[in-house]
Amino acid sequence: MSGPLGPGSPTSDTDLLRRATQIRDEWLGHALSTLPADRPATEAAITELYETIGQRPPRFRWVDSPAAMARLAPEESPDPAPVRLRAADSRNRVSEWPTASRLATQMMDLRRGLDRLVNARLAGAPVPPGLRRTARDIPPEDALGRGMPLRPLLEIAVGDPLQASVGDAVAGPLRTAFTTLAGRPVGPVWSGQHEAPWVARYDTWRRLGMLPVSADRGRRLDLWASLARSCGWWWPGEEVCVVAERPLAVHHEPLPHAPNGQLRLHRDDGPAVVFGDGWGVHVLHGTPVPEWVLTAPTAERIAAERNVEVRRTAIERLGWDTYIDQAGLRLLATAPDPGNPGCELRLYDTPRDVRLPPSRLLLAVNGSVERDGHRRRYGLSVPDGIDDPVAAAGWTYGLPGEVYARLARRT
């Protein structure tokens, strides 16, 4: 197999793929960077972006975190008014749109143009039926070995995992926390280092020599790339551009069994992401949680929590035994777990709580062992009125107890 480059360059698809995953990891590093912002580089890139839309350089206002931006006095904030476009509105001329809107338009033009180029190249490399799904689950070099063409493999090995890790797993919880905190529209925001996924996608194609990018587009991509390497979130206004520092710490763990370096946030003794002013988010194994889940989980707080994932995470943190004890659950019955030799099903009655619908708790044990050799216990809520643990387990699969009792094997 030969690559697109000339002599002295990487020539095989294997080499190109290796180079692509290096570029991916380089961008992942930028996206997770906790270094102080490179303020000169940031201000230079934003100034040049303003120039490309015919706007004078802004004054820069640096803040420690997105939360600090939300707390700025109105006169220090960029114009937060959302654009309202109407046919008769004189602002329905691009040159009179707010700076943020014109920057957004310009960025979307760039991305659309590059997408067209990338999509044309993807269309020229059809994927054999069924292979795309398999390729997501195996190391990319194995996917290549199984006949996955390099071009679509680049999407699976670079752009998609960065979007999952950075866009969804890291920036996602921060966006939610920021929006909740701000409680009001604060104008369009760009996310600096968290723009890495889309920047990296085009940058990879470009650096591998697989995408001819015009000088103009290349220059504009460089500006966004420079921001992704230099700063946190930023809010462009007419006169003032507010830019946030990067976080002080980002704690993460690999996503289990993910072959393309995907990760999720996780820290069990403090915020998973924390900024210089102390603002941050708490996340356990990818699930964003309120701080009390880490610091002081109690049955009472768990009962008052509406989000079922948060509730489950909090109970597991507290421990099932402690939870059952604290919540005053009464053991109704136990039974051997069909298909799961040596394990027991335990059915508990839950005290009535007017805030919650009636239910019972079925405590079961996993059929397969964890990496540490233990079997995880898990609780399932089942409707009130079921008195037999086997019938309760059957109900979770829509089966009567006597059918569930015939379960031969659980793994």
């Binding site: 039926p129 069924g130 292979l131 799904r133 398999t134 689950d137 195996i138 194995d142 199984r146 996503l255 289990p256 069994h257 993910a258 995907q262 999720r264 194994h285 990818g286 699930t287 079922v308 298909g339 919650l356 619908p357 009636p358 239910s359 996993n366 059929g367 397969s368 062992v369 964890e370 990496r371 050799g373 898990y378 399932l380 809520s381 089942v382 409707p383 009130d384 009125g385 079921i386 109900w395 979770t396 699969y397 829509g398 089966l399 059918v403 569930y404 015939r406 379960l407 031969a408 094997r409 659980r410 793994t411």
Partner: protein
Amino acid sequence: MTMTLAQLGERSGQNIPDHLERATTVPVIDAPQAQGDLLVIPYRLVEDDVHLPPAQWTAVPPEGIELLRSTTGGNPHTLVADPGTCHWASGGVEDRTQLALGALRTTGPAYLIHAEHGGTGIAPGTYVVRRQREGTGIAGRRASRGRGVADRFGYVHTRVVAD
């Protein structure tokens, strides 16, 4: 065809972790079996609740069919079988409990594989694959549907379990 977990993993392209018993032969049986939050159950045991389509069955391809993937862990439950032996239907399978992912018909051993839960061996026959749910409310005689259904026994609200 009896297979070990390691062989199944190789065949489905999944990395079976070392802490599972990789060298153990996966038993091939025709009884109900659970794999994490999925249940494989012989059709005859649920035929009153489940309607199978006459058509819409597709052959399980060599690389298998991914039946369900968990949202947080990224691991799929994958159905694999020797070419030509196993057919899968999802569209057209009507389950009164709304829990069926689909149904399979196999003339040889078929396997359901999951990187954390291991392997489930399925003997020739017709089976329904169901998801697991939890719920609150007051239990009725018959399982209720989706987001909550009032029946003469009360009101039950359910959600599917994703592990």
